[in-house]
């Protein structure tokens, strides 16, 4: 039996919400990063589902680019964490509040 398209979309929404909760509540910088990857993934899922629904592969292309950007983002972001860790010996975002006030 075929799965309704909305199920995929609902699943993506759920994943997105979980990712959002993680991004907002975790203090570890890398964990926040992981949560964001989760959210990106949820978005990708949505894109793929709509691509399927509309029969247009442009959605898949977008997912491809999102993946590439996510890779670039991960590279730079993790490098930043390394840099910050060198300076402050922590990546707890509660303690990295350089922009305070």
């Amino acid at each position: 039996m075929s799965v309704p398209i909305s199920w995929y979309l609902l699943l993506a929404a759920a994943l997105f919400a979980i990712g959002a909760i993680g991004a907002l509540t975790r203090r570890n910088g890398i964990a926040i990063f992981l949560s964001i990857e989760l959210m990106l993934n949820a978005a990708n899922l949505t894109l793929a589902a709509y691509s399927r629904l509309l029969g247009d592969r442009a959605g898949q292309m977008v997912v491809f680019f999102v993946l590439a950007v996510a890779a670039a983002e991960a590279a730079v972001g993790l490098a930043l964490f390394i840099g910050i860790f060198r300076l402050r010996r922590t990546i707890d975002v509660n303690r990295i509040n350089l922009l305070r006030w």
Partner: protein, 652 residues
Amino acid sequence: MDALSLLWWIPALPFLGAAVNGLLVRNGQKGLVTFVGLAAPGASMLLGLTAIWQYATGLAPEPLRQAVYSWTVGEMSIDVAFRLDPLSAVMTFVVTVVGFLIHVYSVGYMGREEGYRRYFSFLNLFMGAMLLLVLGSNFLVMFVGWEGVGLCSYLLIGYYFDQEFPPEAGKKAFVVNRIGDFAFLVGMLALFASFGTLEFGEITERVLAAPEIAKAPYVFGLSLAGFVTLCLFIGAMGKSAQIPLYVWLPDAMAGPTPVSALIHAATMVTAGVYMVVRTNVLYQLAPEISLFVAGIGAATAIFAATIGLAQNDIKKVLAYSTVSQLGYMFLAAGVGAYVAAIFHLATHAFFKALLFLGSGSVIHAMGGEQDMQKMGGLRKHLPLTYPTYLIATLAIAGIPPLAGFFSKDEILAGAFAGHHHLIWGVGILTAGLTACYMFRSVYLTFHGSFRGSHEQEHHLHESPKVMTVPLVLLALGAVTAGWIGIPTGLWEMAGFADHNVLHHFLSPVIATLPGVDTGHHLSHSTELLLMLVSVAVALGGWLVAKRLWGGERGLAADRTFAERLPFVQRLLANKYYVDELYDRVIVRPLAGLARGCWKIVDTLLIDGALHVGAFVTELTGDLGRFSTTGNIRNYALYFFAGVLLLFWWMIF
């Protein structure tokens, strides 16, 4: 040589001398300083005398006007122009001659001073400005000179600038003068606004042509003439030290004595009188202001004379005497005796300059001491100074046939003839007081026995020739200057033709207005009677002085006076506490107001409002600032909330 075409060089030469001495010559070159400092006013005097001679013999009484260049153009077109007419001729004569003699005297008096060059530079500057004042053809040039002499007065009073008091006195002189100048300026504005010109000649012509313009109501129920003359007279009050603006003149004695002689006795302080006479056409149209002038003059005359009685500083006595005599001149101008005012101005220039220079010689001999309580018996040591000082005293006291007699008598006659009997009475009383306090100074200084220290006594000596020669020459003037104005009545009684030279010479300057009665004539007998009365009063004053202070009596009379009437003595010695009064009533409240403006209005109100505004802004910013936690999760939450809001907005 056509001196008349070189008219503008008369004031220019002293300016040149001042510039050369001030900017080019170095401090050490004393000979050069003396040469430049004397050559400039000397040349100016020669040129001036030649010009006056050529004018009097050739052009008189038509005024000569020489425009040098135009100062401004357009709607307000004013020339830098000079004017030689009988009035300015007399003034130029007095200023250049007395001025040059005082310059010569200064060579000796100031010889050992460190600021010799500065002194001569300023003195030349003063001569230039004074000549600008008297020769100026319009109010503007006159005002330039007017302020210029004020400036030189400021600089020269403060000549001993490294002491506390002289610069203060200079400042006071300048500021008090400025108060007068402010009125002068307003008067000029009113004149210019009404006539569109500041030329003396043009204004006089227009007023004569249409007196009703000047009589039209202007402000405060005053006519235009009244307003202008009131303003100008307030200006004159400042410059010529009349009540209530006389307070600076006694303090001005802080300057070197020749400066007091030149500026604060002979020339500058008489500028106010000159101006009133210069604008006599307007004064004649404003009888109420003229009366006011006469009243102020009379009040000043007697007021200053009483103070003069109780002063112990020889220069202060002379200073109050000057104030008093200036009061006389205004009295004359106020009652319409303009010629008499100028006459007294001229004679006064000679004998008062002589008095000051004589006192300078005394001070020189005393090694800088000015207190008469420490003098006495100096006639033995100062064989030339004493007689010249005595001549001047006789002249100022009004003993015939010296200069002061004729001029003072003419003033009193003028007052009497104008039916101003009260003013005449004040004048005659002042004449007595004048004789009294002037002889007091003679007795205390030259008679009796020496009251100073041994050191001073040892040091006593007559001044050098360069100082005594001017004394003698001025004494000559003090004796003879009155003879140019021997009253018409006397000539006629003696059966001669009228030789009242001054009167004839000056009469073209005095406007004759239809309907304004200037010709008060006294009968010869009344005139003679008045003369006798004034001579008697003068002699009476002398006798009183001799009784009180003559011979060996010294200061006994003063002590008795202080014991009997301590209150009056203190009042007089402290000059009626006018300085203190001004300080309490004007200066301090004004300073308080100024401080209030600064501390309360500026700092508290304006800046305070500003700071309140700034504080509120800062507070708002602070409140907002707390959202900037620096914690990235908070930012993420804001972002998320924003997304939700957007979402909400997009859906619904």
